[in-house]
């Protein structure tokens, strides 16, 4: 461990590599986390299947890639398919738990997560997959730092997608209805907003965002049926750290988590990369509860 820190001190360019990789991947984490914050804030559903939606989007892009369709073309396909999938999940499962206590939704989405990861495992097998995008890899600093063009592209795409979603939430009629429902569902209903439809749309929108995040991840990183739970935990870390409705916070926490994970994996060893995520989750929750404890409140 100390040897790895020494290595970082001796070759500062390695920091550049870790930072860049962390930021590129962190942008996608932030995208998925924004979807979680949306569903959490509007519907009060804590979606533990978030990461599995991401992985599902990734498999759509990867599968189209094996059929000879470029994953970048697969990206909009994943978005559309995942939107429809989200609508179905809402109609047949989430709509029954939305007014129950929060543990119900947590457990129901955990069940969905189990079903999805096992279905993906049965259909595509347990191997780690990468969607081949066929872009060049650039070398910086004399080959010490390598950056694939696709990572730049995915960073830009993640930014564009996030901007589109934010614009949609601000300007469109549906976006305004969603925000109104989040503020006060009863008043929104009185004003003639079909809240059930708003909920269905919000959940599907989240699912579509996950699909986009997954398609990007399948190009710049790896996907595997059982990686979903880690992605869910990442989204939870980001949202709990940033707080609901704090968009700049979500972006900063997402990028920060990406970087922290890269450093954790490098300094402590690859087997600690997972534990960096789960450990950060516990740390963030405990810090929040410590903060609340000072004002004699609890995290709820």
């Amino acid at each position: 461990m100390m040897a790895n820190i020494d290595l970082l001190a001796m070759a500062p360019v390695l920091n550049v590599q870790l930072l860049l990789d962390g930021l590129f991947i962190g942008a996608i984490f932030a995208l998925a986390a924004y979807g979680l914050a949306l569903v959490w804030g509007v519907m009060n559903i804590k979606n533990l299947a978030q990461g599995d939606f991401v992985i599902m989007g990734g498999y759509i892009a990867w599968f189209l890639g094996t059929q000879g369709i470029h994953p970048l073309v697969g990206l909009p396909v994943a978005i559309v398919l995942m939107f429809g999938f989200g609508w179905l999940v809402y109609r047949y499962i989430i709509s029954y738990v939305i007014h129950r206590d929060m543990f119900t939704s947590l457990l129901a989405t955990f069940g969905i997560a189990l079903v999805l990861q096992q279905l993906l495992n049965l259909i595509f097998g347990p191997d780690v997959q990468v969607a081949k995008s066929g872009f060049e890899i650039n070398s910086l600093f004399g080959g010490l730092v390598t950056v694939a063009n696709i990572k730049f592209l995915s960073f830009i795409l993640a930014g564009i997608l996030a901007a589109m979603v934010i614009l949609f939430m601000k300007k469109s009629r549906m976006g305004q209805a969603i925000r109104a429902t989040a503020q006060d569902p009863r008043a929104a209903k009185v004003m003639g907003i079909d809240t059930d439809r708003v909920y269905a749309f919000t959940f599907s929108l989240n699912s579509a965002i996950c699909g986009a995040a997954g398609a990007l991840i399948s190009m710049i990183w790896v996907i595997q049926p059982f990686y979903g739970i880690t992605h869910s935990i990442r989204a939870f870390v980001i949202v709990t750290a940033a707080g609901l409705g704090n968009l700049p916070g979500v972006i900063m926490a997402g990028l920060g988590l990406g970087v922290a994970e890269q450093y954790g994996g490098f300094v402590l060893g690859a087997e600690f990369q997972q534990v960096t995520v789960t450990g950060l989750l516990v740390a963030v929750l405990l810090y929040r509860s410590y903060q609340m404890n000072k004002v004699r409140q609890v995290v709820q």
Partner: protein, 351 residues
């Protein structure tokens, strides 16, 4: 009304069936022993989830910790653990009859007490989390524990650690563990059955129903929560020690900290039977385990999909569980009397 003699007769009959089971079905001793562990899982989960309203997704932590503590004690009493795990497979150290049983008893006791200590320490920090945050936080702790132990070379890392080999006949071994599992499950059930009749039982129910009011009434809620969690951790730690010895090999992710299998089974079983009832978790565990053992091998990989589906259906459409359903259907059998005037009033109020 169920009279006292009939209750006694019922328990005696259960005892006879349980003791006779491994002799009547010798081929299924392991499966029935596993059933006892499942019952223990559901009963200990229900202390928190059902009776106290704290839904933990990470109770499997104590199972795994108990398993590792007992493995370290059993090996460490006679060999150096680091060298033992480093040479895993190459040399097989022999444990004599006396060494084995001393180690086993010490290991089980240490597993129970160690889990209590871990629970007591953790409860100082996690009970500031409520509702879903508590569930996610405990899930995170269990996942982290599995990953950290998997990276710890001294206890074998991801490769795991082999437990001492039983010095004797395999039949004797399976009978011994059958009765140990039965005893621990029965002890946990009887203990919590008694506990729910005491003031402590009322206190944790009060925490479930309204924690702020309970605290305002002068209950030391944190203390009660810590004690309840430690008690369930004690039995879970013991079950971990027993399960580790039954399988003979401890490995971090699949055997010791199976968060998405055993860890979620406990919740599913308690919910299926009806959480917050005395017999619900037991019935849920029996139904779940029997269905699982009968259908599992015939489903060719689809069993996990079916499990997830079962959880979703259970939570979404059948949340009261089997016992809750029975209570709704025959309330007078459970000594519940519906006060008509009260129910009419509540209807009025709802309007």
């Amino acid at each position: 009304m169920i009279t006292k003699t009939r209750t006694t007769l019922f328990y005696v009959a259960l005892l006879v069936i349980s003791v006779a089971a491994p002799f009547v079905f010798p081929a299924y001793t392991f499966q029935i022993a596993l059933l006892w562990i499942m019952i223990l899982f559901a009963v200990t989960w229900d202390v928190m989830g059902g009776q106290m309203g704290y839904n933990s997704l990470g109770n499997i932590l104590f199972f795994g910790m108990g398993m590792y503590i007992s493995a370290i004690v059993q090996v460490g009493l006679f060999y150096d653990v680091g060298t033992y795990t480093a040479h895993s497979g190459a040399i097989v150290p022999v444990f004599s009859h006396d060494q084995y049983f001393t180690g086993l008893v010490a290991g089980i006791v240490a597993a129970g007490l160690g889990s209590v200590i871990i629970a007591a320490l953790l409860s100082q920090v996690v009970f500031g989390l409520r509702g879903p945050y508590f569930a996610i936080g405990t899930l995170g702790i269990a996942l982290s524990a599995g990953e950290l132990i998997g990276a710890w070379e001294w206890v074998g890392g991801g490769g795991g650690i082999a437990l001492p080999k039983y010095p004797g006949e395999p039949d004797g071994r399976s009978l011994l563990y059958y009765f140990l599992c039965f005893a621990s499950a029965a002890a946990s059930f009887m203990f919590f059955r008694w506990l729910y009749t005491t003031r402590f039982g009322l206190a944790i129910n009060a925490i479930r129903d309204n924690e702020e009011k309970a605290e305002a009434m002068g209950l030391h809620t944190l203390q009660h929560k810590a004690v309840a969690w430690s008690l369930s951790a004690f039995f879970l730690g013991i079950s971990g020690a027993l399960f580790g010895n039954m399988t003979g090999f401890v490995e971090p992710l699949e055997v010791a900290f199976p968060t998405v299998t055993f860890g979620i089974f406990m919740v599913a079983m308690a919910l299926l039977g009806g959480k917050g009832t005395l017999w619900g978790p037991v019935i849920g565990a029996v139904v779940f385990h029997v269905i699982k053992e009968v259908t599992w091998t015939h489903m060719l990989g689809w069993q996990w999909v079916a499990l997830g589906g079962l959880i979703v259906i259970n939570v979404v459409f059948f949340q009261q569980g089997l016992m809750g359903w029975a209570q709704d259907k025959w309330p007078e059998r459970f000594g519940l009397v519906v006060d008509e005037s009260m129910s009419a009033e509540t209807k009025e109020a709802a309007k």
